[in-house]
Amino acid sequence: MADTHSHSHSDHGHADGEFSHPMPVWMLLAVFFALLGLTFLTVFQAQFDLGSLEIVFSLIIASIKAGLVIAFFMHLVWDKPLNAIAIFSSLIFVALFLGFTLMDAQQYNERLIMDPKNEILENSTPKARLIKASE
């Protein structure tokens, strides 16, 4: 873990140092138009049926957009590493949370009773996933 406090002192030498870094206007605009372009792209690609790839595509585009926002608008690229660690660790924990929960859910899918009010089984395979079965 970075020792931010002493770091800041040694880095600047003087306590009242300048620490603001205004972003140039061209960069703000460039990022904005990139984001806008990516939005058009994602709407455009939704017109085509890409099957299971569709979700992958749209998530990749969304992640690029999110990355731009975080890196530039939230100026994380110029920020203290600790802040970056904080935000990325949160993503790791989200992944952990979703990962385990979904890993579990994936396994018991076939045991679900989609119409729980039904009379109990005459013993046997569940009528799970009515929809899949009717296909």
Binding site: R111, P116, K117, N118, I120, L121, E122, N123, S124
Partner: protein, 328 residues
């Protein structure tokens, strides 16, 4: 006061009777962990007491203020416990996989958990019961379903437990090894009368088991008797008492209402008659009785009971008024 710990003859100090193949495995691991724990715990406590006395602050004694550090020692007390817990995990997993792996040739029983009763249905001949009858020395497979909230099926003597979650099927198996009568508990909190959601498991010899199943499918001929028979098997009994003493259960008592005007939660009054009872069985939310607003909701029996069975139940409730009451 009775301080007999060994009230149950078959039980040891720690365990309930061991009546399934799982018991040996679980009890072995339990005792192994217990001894490992004692092996750690006793030296820790002895060291602690010894240091307390030996290094206590007293006139004329001054210990060292320097922090100690001993790398080999620290590595030892990190690595040794690691190996031990890996072994414990491994043994636990083996035991679990044994419980999870369903054998092929099983005696199948369907289990329905509903507040606060267990209902069992035997695949063999469709018999139903509220006490679980099992043949000894057979692999038993349970297919479990809950009709309302979470429950958990637990037979301490079998060392077997499985939650029953509404909305999905749960399977479990075990292999009873000893004839006898054992407790069956619900161990997942399920509302007001959670602690009364207890029934028995009777492990019978093969002949007795067959005879029991045959006996179970026989519905009584008499309509009132049949109603009572259903009352005891269809999970009415847990909430609606029928005793003459008018004791109140979680739901309104069956006794003493027939033909009378009863107040409803919304202020109306209805006559307690055939129509009302039928409605209350099929659509329990429609006419909530006054005074039971905070009681847990009764599930609908739509599709659970045939028309004639409802008639029998009605006849049974009616009979409580005319012919004195059976015990609750």
């Amino acid at each position: 006061m009775n301080f007999t710990f060994l009230a149950d003859e078959a039980a040891g100090f720690w365990f309930p009777p061991a009546a399934s193949t799982f018991a040996e495995q679980v009890d072995f691991l339990y005792m192994a962990i217990l001894w490992i724990s004692i092996l750690f715990f006793v030296p820790i406590v002895i060291a602690m007491l010894y240091f307390m006395v030996k290094f206590r602050q007293r006139p004329g004694y001054k210990g060292s203020p320097e922090a100690l550090h001993n790398t080999p020692l620290e590595i030892t007390w990190t690595v040794v416990p690691t190996f031990i817990v890996v072994w414990i995990f491994w043994e636990g997993m083996i035991g679990y996989l044994d419980m999870a792996r369903m054998p092929d040739d099983t005696v199948d029983v369907a289990v329905t958990a509903v507040k606060w009763n267990w209902a069992f249905k035997y695949k063999q001949n469709g018999a139903e019961s509220t006490v679980l009858y099992l043949p000894v020395n057979k692999d038993i497979k349970l297919t479990m379903q809950s009709r309302d909230v979470l429950h958990s099926f637990f037979v301490p003597a079998f060392r077997a437990k499985r939650d029953v979650v509404p909305g999905r099927y749960h399977y479990m198996w075990f292999h009873p090894t000893k004839e006898g009568v054992y407790d069956l508990f619900c161990t997942e909190y399920c509302g007001d009368n959670h602690s009364t959601m207890i029934t028995k498991v009777e492990v019978l010899s093969e002949e007795k088991y067959a005879a029991k199943l045959a006996e179970l499918v026989k519905e009584p001929e008499d309509i009132v008797e049949r109603g009572k028979w259903l009352y005891e098997r269809k999970a009415c009994k847990g909430c609606h008492y029928a005793g003459a003493d008018g004791a109140k259960g979680p739901g309104p008592s069956y006794n003493g209402s027939w033909g009378k005007q009863v107040p409803l939660a919304d202020g109306r009054e209805v006559k307690f008659d055939e129509n009302y009872v039928r409605e209350a069985i099929l659509n329990p939310g429609a006419a909530h009785r006054k005074g039971y607003e905070t009681a847990s909701a009764m599930p609908s029996y739509k599709g659970q009971l045939k028309d004639e069975q409802i008639d029998a139940l009605i006849a049974f409730i009616q009979s409580l008024e005319t012919a004195g009451a059976p015990a609750k």
